[in-house]
């Protein structure tokens, strides 16, 4: 069975349209990235400090009533979120100053007092102090930077510097794109999302490297025609693999998104988006970038 075979799509000619899409995605991502330190993004308590308590009540609850109950007790800024089950409620209070234990305890007692007929158990509690949050923000930033540098070095060493740079730009683009989409969806940026972003970086890079590998191979053959034609041919040759791999990975990521439960929902969603964006970027971003940076000298690709 073949989805595609012997295609001859002129990907490079569409690079301007793709460029517009990429720039839009990247700009949204940049806005999101800038919003985080400015405190405008929806950061989880991992990064901001605060309290998150997840309740499971005996009887179904109405979220508006719960909001009123909390507001009366002085928790006006509480963020309430209900899951698929009507008995589950997540209460978040950002900004971690003072005695966080006391805060989470008093949220619980507010419910006990106001609704004695509907007892609950606490499914999970997170209390994160402000210093921990700031430290994690810094760590996460470093993780992304170190990962990108590591990738740049490896790809530059295995291929050429311009391949490395193109791979890093494409990878960075993907991370930004997923970040941007999450920002638009007003999803919460948590530690788990940073993990997903780094995994997306790894995945998108795999895709890019496979295409680059083919480009390098074709460059060695010293084929006729210009570089753009060579890039097109290379992308077409691996297109079949790109589609199969993206489909299988997407299948896995989507099933985690829809069935994996609340804890990993956003994580899996970021992975799914990353697969789509990563596939797009390896075809439409990474390879065209090589065109922008023409090698003046004849490439000396004798090694490896």
């Amino acid at each position: 069975m073949d989805f595609v075979r012997n295609t001859n799509i002129d990907f490079m000619s569409k690079r301007r349209i793709a460029f517009v899409i990429s720039v839009v995605l990247a700009v949204i991502g940049l806005i999101a990235a800038v919003s985080i330190p400015l405190g405008k993004a929806n950061l989880s308590i991992d990064f901001e400090g605060g309290v998150a308590v997840q309740f499971r009540f005996e009887q179904p609850i109405e979220i508006d009533k719960m909001r009123t109950v909390l507001a009366e007790k002085g928790f006006k800024d509480a963020n309430l979120q209900q899951f698929a089950e009507p008995t589950k409620l997540l209460v978040k209070l950002k900004g971690g100053e003072g005695d966080l234990r006391a805060v989470s305890n008093s949220i619980g007692s507010a419910f006990t007092e106001s609704m004695p007929g509907n007892p609950f158990i606490i499914d999970s509690t997170s209390e994160v102090g402000p210093t921990v949050g700031r430290k994690l923000q810094k760590d996460a930033l470093w993780a992304v930077i170190v990962a990108l540098i590591g990738i740049l070095l490896y790809v530059a060493w295995r291929f050429e510097l311009r391949f490395g740079v193109a791979a890093v730009i494409a990878t960075f683009h993907d991370v930004l794109a997923v970040l941007g989409i999450f920002f638009l969806l007003d999803k919460e940026m948590s530690l788990l999302i940073v993990t997903a972003l780094l995994t997306v970086a790894g995945y998108s890079l795999t895709d890019t490297v496979v295409v680059f590998d083919r480009i390098r191979e074709n460059m060695r053959k010293k084929a006729k025609g210009d570089f753009a034609a060579l890039l097109n041919r290379s992308v077409n040759e691996v297109l079949s693999r790109t589609i199969v791999t993206s489909s299988t990975t997407l299948l896995a990521a989507l099933s985690l998104t829809f069935l994996g439960g609340e804890v990993i929902h956003d994580f899996a969603l970021a992975l799914s988006l990353g697969v789509v964006v990563g596939t797009f970027s390896s075809v439409f971003v990474a390879s065209p970038l090589l065109l922008l940076w023409k090698n003046k000298k004849k490439p000396a690709l004798a090694k490896a």
């Binding site: 069975m1 158990i121 199969v244 990975t249 069935l259």
Partner: protein
């Protein structure tokens, strides 16, 4: 490794080893012979899967230095008195200074000399009109900071060991933090109480020269201070604070305890904590009670007065008790805390993540269901798309998962929910290596090669793509491992192991199946 036979042995051997390693981690373990189940390391379930508590405690090292300096101030005073050097007073100032006021130039020199000879931990004193300011050596205060962290670690470990939690993890993080993980914990509130108590126990004589209420308004006399007893009125639910005027110096501290246990007072039907002093403590206690019959002795824990019984007669034998409206749990926990010793400095909880057992159960179910479905979809897709070769790819993925589980058990790594996602992702990406190989083989077949040479060429051509793709993913996994904590570390471990194992299963396992096909069965047409 040209011979198929030896490669079959290799792959089968690894698979068998993986089975031996991971079976004890599964529910099957109950039916395995005990020498097998008991001697093999197991995969741990992360807190997100089994519930439990993750605490990050910040040790207040400044306070440790301050406490130490306070004690040194006492030693300085003692030393000066012993040597008969004249001085006005000795006080601790700030974190690490001891200030000594001197009456004249002559005693100034003597003070300096005595402190230098007796306590070599200060640098040269600064002279501030009429006072000598001794500052603790930088090296010494660093040592105290470091020591306070290790001491806190040890104390917390002792308390938790006595509390009885299976497989707790207690380790240092950074320069001033302690991480405590208590999997499967039922009563998080109690654990926090247990871990967080500084537990500085002091026996102090009550100063009866003035009524505590007078002292509250007029100030306590020299050498005494006011300490409150927090009473909890069970009828009104109000907390009452009763002031006591007690001596500033502790007559005896918790350091002198050799044992503490919960006991039951049958007369009042009330639990109390029974204390046993070590031989030195017992002597001090006997002397103290002998000299102060009729007076009251306050028992102060972490600055709160618990009880202040009257000394009716000298108490020999080194036994004492703390009573005062405890529940049996409170008394047990207090005994644990006293037995494990005091924390060298207060600790603050800077991060607390607690997952209830029922959420863990839900997460396992949802995660496994999604994971299994995702894996099944991928496997079925491969068979539909690549036919018999798809079966080979599935076989390689199957080997990958078995070996991944085996490796995880071998390293006793922790399986977390993101870890399950990592396994599923490994399947998705593990399939990729096979796809790369298959597509190459297809190309070679289209170019008119025989199956056997197409297979060999396909593997050769795909080899570097596979390696490059794996190494780059490994780089991000390594970064995740380096900076991540808890569930994220779990994800990074699973992902890296999966990637490494996949290199083996794709390049050796898949190749082996193709070689068997082409060399043993001499297949004319590849089903791919």
């Amino acid at each position: 490794m040209r011979s198929i036979f030896w490669r079959v042995i290799l792959v089968a051997g690894f698979t068998a080893l993986a089975f031996i390693l991971f079976l004890p981690s599964t529910p099957v373990s109950k039916r395995l012979p005990s020498f097998w189940a008991d001697n093999i390391p197991k995969i741990n379930l992360g807190l997100d899967l089994q519930g439990g508590m993750h605490l990050v405690l910040d040790v207040d090292q400044d306070k440790a230095v301050e406490n130490h300096t306070q004690r040194l101030a006492g030693s300085v005073e003692d030393a000066l008195k012993r040597k008969g050097v004249a001085f006005y007073n000795v006080v601790r100032e700030g974190l690490d200074n001891v200030a000594v006021s001197y009456p004249d130039e002559r005693s100034k020199g003597e003070i300096s000399r005595v402190v230098k000879d007796e306590l070599g931990v200060f640098g040269s004193p600064a002279d501030q009109n009429g006072r000598l300011l001794f500052t603790l050596d930088k090296g010494e205060s660093e040592r105290i900071r470091e020591w306070s962290l290790f001491q806190a670690l040890e104390t917390i470990r002792n308390r938790i060991d006595k509390f009885g939690v299976a497989e707790p993890l207690i380790q240092k993080q950074g320069v001033n933090e302690v991480v405590v993980q208590l999997p499967g914990l039922k009563d998080p509130e109690r654990a926090i109480q247990l871990i967080g108590k500084t537990a500085v126990l002091e026996f102090r004589l009550v100063d009866e020269s003035m009524s505590p209420y007078t002292a509250e308004t007029q100030g306590a006399p020299f050498g005494s201070e006011i300490v409150y007893q927090q009473g909890y009125d069970s009828q009104t639910g109000m907390v009452q604070k009763t002031p006591f005027l007690v001596k500033r110096d502790a007559a005896l501290t918790g350091d002198s305890l050799s044992d503490a246990r919960m006991a039951f007072d049958t007369q009042y039907n009330e639990p109390y904590v029974s204390l046993t002093f070590d031989s030195n403590g017992a002597r001090v206690f006997e002397r103290l009670t002998t000299q102060n019959v009729g007076k009251r002795l306050a028992i102060v824990l972490d600055g709160n007065l618990h009880s202040a019984p009257q000394i009716r007669e000298p108490i020999a034998g080194g036994k004492a008790q703390i009573s005062g409206g405890f529940t049996p749990e409170e008394a047990t926990d207090l005994a644990i805390i006293l037995r494990a010793g005091a924390l060298p400095a207060p600790v603050n909880i800077v991060q607390n993540v607690t997952v209830g057992p029922s959420l863990g159960q839900d997460s396992i179910e949802a995660g496994l269901k999604a994971g299994l479905l995702g894996a099944a979809l991928v496997l079925v897709f491969m068979i539909i798309y690549y036919r018999a070769s798809g079966v080979i790819a599935d076989f390689a993925v199957f080997l990958n998962i078995i070996m991944l589980l085996g490796a995880m058990a071998w390293l006793s790594s922790t399986l977390t929910l993101p870890g399950i996602a990592g396994i599923v992702l490994t399947i998705g990406m593990g399939v990729d290596s096979n796809v790369l190989i298959f597509e190459r083989i297809k190309e070679e077949l289209h170019a008119g090669r025989t199956p056997r040479s197409a297979i060999n060429a396909g593997f050769d051509r795909a080899f570097w793509s596979i390696v490059d793709a794996h190494v780059t993913t490994l780089i991000t996994a390594a970064v995740l491992f380096q900076f991540g904590s808890g569930p994220i570390k779990g994800f990074a471990v699973t992902l890296s192991l999966g990637i490494l194992i996949n290199l083996f299963t794709a390049l050796v396992g898949t190749k082996l199946m193709f070689d068997i096909q082409s060399e043993r069965f001499r297949v004319k047409r590849l089903s791919i």
